[in-house]
Amino acid sequence: METINFWELWGGVAYRFWPVWVGMAITYLLMRANRKHIGVFGHLLDSPVGVTGLMIVLFWLFTAVFADVVATFDPLEQFYRHRRKPPGMVELESMIPMYFGSDNLGRDLFSRMVYGSRFVLLIAPSATLVAFIVGITLGLPAGYKGGRTDSILSFIANMILSFPVIVLFYLLVTPGIRETALPNVMASVFFMFPIVFALTVLRSRFSERPGLLFPWSVIILILGGWLYSGVVFNSDPLGLISMDPNELNIFAAVVFASSPGVFRIVRGLTMDIKTRDYVAAAQTRGETPWYIMLWEILPNARGPLIVDACLRIGYTTILLGTLGFFGLGLAPESPDWGSMINQTRGFIRLVPTIVLPQTIALASFVLGLNLLADGLREESLKD
């Protein structure tokens, strides 16, 4: 068995990531040059904690983007002669080293870790975004109007929150459930929210200027309808947008589990902000409730919401890992970090390093998001 030494290993790994380093450097320099114009992200560069977090997040972001260049092997290719090998072993046919060793089926752990970032960075931020839109659309009226709307919505939110996430996933993310229409129904409800949200934003802004309202609404309806049909019903007329039923199932479950949390935060912020003077001024001007909620309250709640979004993307990443860890929802061969942890953890005794790449990847990404959130919070408090 041919192996490479410590320096060749880490030098090789650092070299493989070259597009990522270039991307991070360019982003940093661009941010540095425009720091006056990008608001709180400009201040972020003053805080060492925030910059560390930002760099970790950017690292995984660019890894996901350039996964094809960074990875050395196909993440699904199995080398039967090289099963459960320690790091730094050279694959004999191609003479390419398997930097982090191989898993129980002889797949290259380094490439799987790199490709695993793709799944996480695609699903986690987009599910968080949808959860935020759902939470905002329901939390704003609940906090602003109160009364019966509030008590009903809060009851539902508390009910979902008092349910253990694992049971929820065991009930919602199974092959059996995928045979029923439930995931599609849930997804169709959740994806309705962004469209409704965008239309409400437009209507409250341009209600007195139908000349602008009408064309924009049409554009949103066409665009939204196109994405909607592609994602939810897998029936995009152009065939460009589609989503795997597994992923749709996971997506819907994750949105379902995390939107009540957003709802509670938005509701609390709204109840706080609606007592401010500028809201009273807008009410006196005779603005509609939705205008006040979307154009007066929401922009003023953005600070805590941005911080919460960072934390919540991290939390969603943990949830996705939990799903993989319990072997729920995803195809068994899929190179996502949670499934990788689940598949390799049985072999710790034989090869202790076999679980390290994926566990450290997941932990570092969540840590990066947490540090970023800390930095943002610190800097936004300073103003």
């Binding site: 253990p164 459930i177 932990a363």
Partner: protein
């Protein structure tokens, strides 16, 4: 609370009675190579095909008279399965709380009393790092380090024979994950108290730093973390499921996973009810306790 439990049990009941889940149950209870007709007749014979309302009413009636039903996975009444498993998890949760709470408070107070120092930075990074590492990551890392490499502890636990060797890792995994969050809350509340007027007065009248912290700041700084500690219980429940699976500790969380994997209707319903009781109960206790600890709220109400 009763309303929440009713609504939740209805939702769970609907989901477990979906056709694919019932088929899974039938296959698990008999053998995996059953034909579709055999599955159908088995389900018919055992009353799983009766109207939804009748089945739910039957279960609800049982619960109200104290009978939680029959566990198909363990082949004995839920009333026998559940208390035993809850007891095992209780032992685990007890040790987690005993180790987690004092160390988290200590970390929070140490880093909050002098904000911005090197000690504060190090402890803060430690607490962020622990909250960012989910149990299935830290548990496995600890197993690699302490069980495989150093050989100090064992990576598998046993409920019937709890020893220091096989029980340390589960407790450590859970308490370290929860520690970070409590420590951060304590730090925030401690640093807020340290900048308040009365602490400054205490400083200015020449009291030593130690007694300012211990006698003046501490009491007020511990109010907020108290609620946070209680609200950790719901999280303990989820954590318990993961940790018990990693270390094969056959407690409540393990039973819950078994119930969910095998569509054990009554056990799953009972587990959901238990967790709802825990979550809502701790919320109530934390509200009451908060009012008790904070005289301002007590006087107003």
């Amino acid at each position: 609370m009763v309303l929440t439990m009713l609504a939740l049990s209805l939702v769970v009941f609907t989901l477990v009675n979906l056709e694919p889940n019932l088929r899974k149950l039938a296959l698990e209870q008999n053998n995996n190579r059953m034909s579709q007709e055999a599955v159908d007749s088995w389900l018919d014979k055992n009353g799983y095909r009766r109207p939804f309302v009748v089945q739910y009413g039957e279960w609800l009636g049982g619960v109200l008279t104290g009978d939680l039903g029959y566990s198909t996975r363990f082949r004995m009444p839920v009333n026998e399965v559940l208390p035993k498993r809850l007891g095992y998890t209780g032992i685990l949760a007890f040790w987690v709380l005993v180790t987690m709470v004092p160390s988290a408070l200590l970390i929070g107070i140490l880093s909050g009393m002098r904000e911005g120092t090197a000690l504060d930075r190090i402890l803060s990074i430690f607490s962020v790092a622990t909250t960012a590492t989910p149990e299935y990551v830290s548990g496995i890392l600890f197993t690699v380090i302490f069980a495989s490499m150093l050989g100090w502890f064992k990576g598998v636990s046993n409920v019937n024979n709890i020893t220091f060797e096989n029980f340390t890792l589960p407790v450590m995994t859970m308490s370290i994950y929860g520690m970070g969050y409590i420590a951060r809350m304590t730090r925030a509340s401690m640093s807020e108290v340290m900048t308040s007027q009365y602490v400054r007065t205490a400083h200015l009248k020449g009291l030593p730093f130690r007694s300012v912290v211990l006698k003046h700041a501490l009491r007020n700084a511990l109010i907020a973390p108290f609620t946070v500690i209680l609200l950790q219980f719901p999280w303990l429940l989820t954590g318990v499921v993961i940790v018990e699976k990693i270390f094969n500790y056959k407690g409540f969380g393990w039973a819950l996973v078994e119930a969910a994997e095998n569509n054990d209707i009554h056990l799953l319903l009972a587990c959901s009810l238990v967790s709802v009781v825990v979550v809502i109960g701790t919320q109530l206790i934390s509200d009451v306790g908060y009012a008790y600890l904070n005289p301002r709220i007590r006087v107003e109400s």
